[in-house]
Structure formats: C-alpha cells, structure tokens
Symmetry: C2
Subunit: 288 residues, 2 copies
C-alpha cells in the first residue's frame, strides 16, 4: 500500500507507552516506528528491543540525544548520549529489516543567561566530533536536526539545513547525517537547494513530516499538526527529498495537545490517512 514507508513517531501519541505504541501501529498496518528514550526506559532496553522484535516493525529513529551547548551539563549529557547510542544500536538490531540506526540530535539552546550564540554553535561542532567515534563504533548514525529558529534560544541553536550540513561536513556520511523535518525547515528560502545538497553529500538520515499551524500556541512547542492541516507545501519538500534518492522511512511526528488527547487508534488512523493523501502521492519509490 502507499503508506508502506510511513513510520509512526511515538511522540504523536505521546500518552501511549511503548507497548501501546507498538500494538496500535501493528493493528493499523503500520510498518515502522520512531521511538523516544523515556518510553524505552520505562520498560528497559532489553524488553523494548524484544517487544519491537516480536512486532515485526521496523525502527526508524530514536529521539533523542544531543544537548551539547551547556558546559554545566556536559558531563551528564555525555553519559546520556552514550546510553542513547547503545539504545539506538540495540533497537535498530531488533527492528525488522530496513531498520535505521539513527539517533536524532537536538543540540540545545543558549545556556541560562548566555547570549553567545556563536560560542554555543561552536560547542555543537565540538560535541558532534567528540560523539562521532562512539557512534561509529556502535554502527549508529548521528542525525543532526536543524530546528525552526523559533527554538533557537531555548532548544536548538542549529537552525538551517545548510548550517547542519556544514557542521557534519568533516564526519563520514554514515556517522554524521541530518534530519529533514518539514516543521523546522519549510520557511527557509534555501531549503530546496539544501535538500539537494544534503542528498548529494549522502547526509539525509531521516525525513520527518508535520505541518505548521497558526496561530501558534503559547510556548510554540505544540503548534505541529498532521500533514495537510497547516501551511506547509509537502509536495515540493517531499519531491525534493525523493529526488535525492532517499528511500528510508518517513516519520509523522506531531506535537499537538488535541492530537495527544485523542484516542490512540484514531490518531494512528488519521496519520495513515494523512500520509496516504499528502505525502504518498509525491514519493518516487516505495519500499519492498
């Protein structure tokens, strides 16, 4: 079917635990899931991997590592990032063939009281290069996620695909990739050439889709809707990603209170329908 490449990012049904996420995905005929560390931790990595393996689902990414901008938490985050790499490797191993050992990196914002944006960005470069050998040793791909500038101060100082590509340029492509998330990059006048560049440089580790809604809710984090409910043109973005030869899963990752409050089965059904209607028509390839 035309949703063969759809992956359900667990955050879209945020209140569901790992078992419920897997069960609802399977029940809806979904073939792949993107998981979150907190939900994996609830059951433990071994149990999570076992459940994933039993489900027959692919694993498309783990959210998330990163948070390398604040020197005050660097030691603690280093340990967390190593754990996240271990988890990513184990889950990708447990997932069905076609699973991707991708760890999504949210790099972090400005440390409290700090206005040195260039300095924070330099720490991202250093953090990536420090983490890269650990990722490579585990066969895991770091997926640097440029974030919408709305989050620049408090969540992610890397804000464009071009900037992300520059930051991973020294890493081998199988270790240092980028996430193309429509919510974060749709506004960028350079997004289409930068997607092309990301493809040419072999960097696209994940393609995530969700829509930009207006008006933005307070705090701005929860203004993400199902594809087709907002302002983003998924045709041009999806075609650009496809034109690079990207053949991986495509996650729907939605943060929205009403979506989170709805019954899980209904949300998963809406995701499948949204993918089928808004994303699938622009896909060049379908998965075997």
């Amino acid at each position: 079917m035309s949703t063969e490449r759809f992956s359900l990012n667990q955050a879209t049904i945020k209140k569901a635990d790992l078992a419920a996420t897997i069960d609802h995905a399977v029940a809806a005929g979904v073939r792949s899931v993107g998981l979150w560390r907190d939900r994996v931790a609830e059951v433990g990595l071994a149990e999570a991997a076992s459940r994933l393996s039993d489900s027959g689902l692919r694993f498309s990414s783990l959210c998330r590592g990163g948070f390398v901008t604040d020197p005050a938490t660097a030691d603690e985050q280093w340990k967390e990032n190593l754990l996240a790499l271990d988890e990513t490797a184990a889950l990708a191993e447990a997932g069905a063939p076609g699973s991707a050992p991708v760890l999504v990196l949210v790099v972090g914002g400005l440390p409290p009281g700090d206005r040195d944006l260039a300095g924070a960005r330099e720490r991202v470069r250093e953090g990536l290069h420090r983490l890269a050998p650990e990722a490579r040793a585990r066969g895991v791909r770091l997926a640097l996620e440029p974030m919408n500038p709305i989050f620049c101060a408090d969540r992610g100082v890397v804000v464009t695909l071009g900037q992300a590509l520059d930051l991973v340029a020294d890493l081998d492509p199988q270790t240092g990739g980028v996430v193309v998330d429509t919510y974060h990059v749709w506004w960028d006048p350079e997004v289409l050439p930068m997607i092309e560049r990301a493809g040419a440089e072999g960097r696209i580790a994940s393609y995530q889709v969700c829509d930009w809604l207006t008006p933005l809710p307070e705090g701005a984090l929860l203004g993400r809707g199902l594809p087709g409910t907002g302002h983003i043109d998924f045709a041009s973005l999806t075609r650009a990603v496809e034109a690079t030869g990207y053949q991986g899963d495509i996650e729907i990752e939605v943060f929205h209170q009403q979506v989170w409050d709805a019954p899980f089965a209904s949300v998963v059904e809406d995701c499948v329908s949204s993918f089928d209607r808004v994303i699938a028509p622009h896909l060049a390839t379908s998965r075997a």
Copy 2:
C-alpha cells in the same frame, strides 16, 4: 548624551496616541520617533506633520506598508501603499534635520488556504518593483523587513536578510533598502556577513532593536522585550551595523503586553536606559 541616536518607535507605547507619544518623547529628552499609520490617521496627516514639526523631533520611519502577497487584496493594498508613501514623505519633511523618509514594509504571509510559498515570494518581488517608481517620485525609501520565520505563514514570507537583499537588488539603494531588526534576524547563522553585505550594497534603511524572550506567549507576536531582557547579543549585531557606516537612528520597537500596560513615561524612561546600557556602548558614531 549617549542616547542621541535612540528613536522611540511608537508601537512600544502602543496605547499612546500621537500627541502623547510626541509629548513623552520630548519630556524624556528623546530626539527621534518612529510612527505608525493608524496613530497618524487618527489626527490626520497635516495635523500629525504639524505636531511633529513643532516638537523638534526627528522622524525615523513609518510603519508600515507592504502586504503584497495576497492577490485578493492587491488593489486595496496598492492604494494603501500609495497613501503610506505620501505620509512618509510628509512626515520626513516635517521632522527635524536628520529625519529619514523610510517606509517599513511588512510583506504579508501566505494567502488563506495557499501553500505556494515560492509564489508568494515572487509576488513580493513584483510588488516591490511596482511600488518603487512611486517611492522614488516621492523621495521615499522602501525598507523591506525580513521577519523571523515564526511569522512566515501569516505575516512575512521574507525571512532572511540575504533574501531581502536579493529582492531589492535591482532597485537603486536610495529607493530599495532593508530593515535590520534584531528580533527578526538574530538567529540567522549568516546574519553578520549579511549585515556587512547590506552595508556594502548601501541598503540599511533602518536598524531596530528589541529582544527575544522565552517562553513565547501565545500567537508569538508579543514576545519582544526591551534590549537586555532576553537572549539576543546586541553587541555583535550593533557593532556589525555600525561597521557598515550606518549613522541613522536606532529604534526600540517592543511588542509586549506588560510594556504596553505600563505608564508611558516609565516605558520611555526604560527605553532610554536600555539603549544607554545595551546599545550605546557599541556605537561607533554619535549624531551631531
């Protein structure tokens, strides 16, 4: 004094009418104001110009023209933009020596139900080029304002300084300029080289300063604070603008409910103090 180049943008004391804005500026020793069309319209252009002339204040800009992205409102906006040009010319003439005939352009977002961002941006180019001869004939400078991508869908499809410079590149610099507004451009990895480029191309028509606050309030419009209250590094941005040779006024334009609710005199005093403390130390030149 070190706030010689400070201009009070009227929106910072949004509830004040034109007379109150002028009176409070004069009382606080402020030398320049940026005005808004609605407040000018309340008293009529002739009266507004007369009051401005009597005050001895400089005029630094008029907010705002633009809104050229929606074909459904194009005719109506064309007339509004011509009126705005007339107003800008008259107010700059009425202001003290050093006044700037600058009309700030907010270009508009995606038309309702429309997801063709590239098309909307093309209409900005067309709209600018259509308006340029009218501006030139009146001696007015169009100041294209790139806006934070947070507003891309509903307010301004031009989101980076580089994109704005490309859009005005065919116009003579005295007709087609850009606004450097810290709130809108601070996050851009290319902001410093693009400020340098804007200077080299003679395009900086206005420098506006306000801070980025977190968490963002609902709707995101009112998350603008006085310089020094948020996350923006005004040192690097102000120095970059100064390094281009920009010698114009520098507006503080803050949108924030608590600021709007405070007594006018207290807000103006806070602006002067903020400018003196956060902006003035980085100025290369002071006005005669």
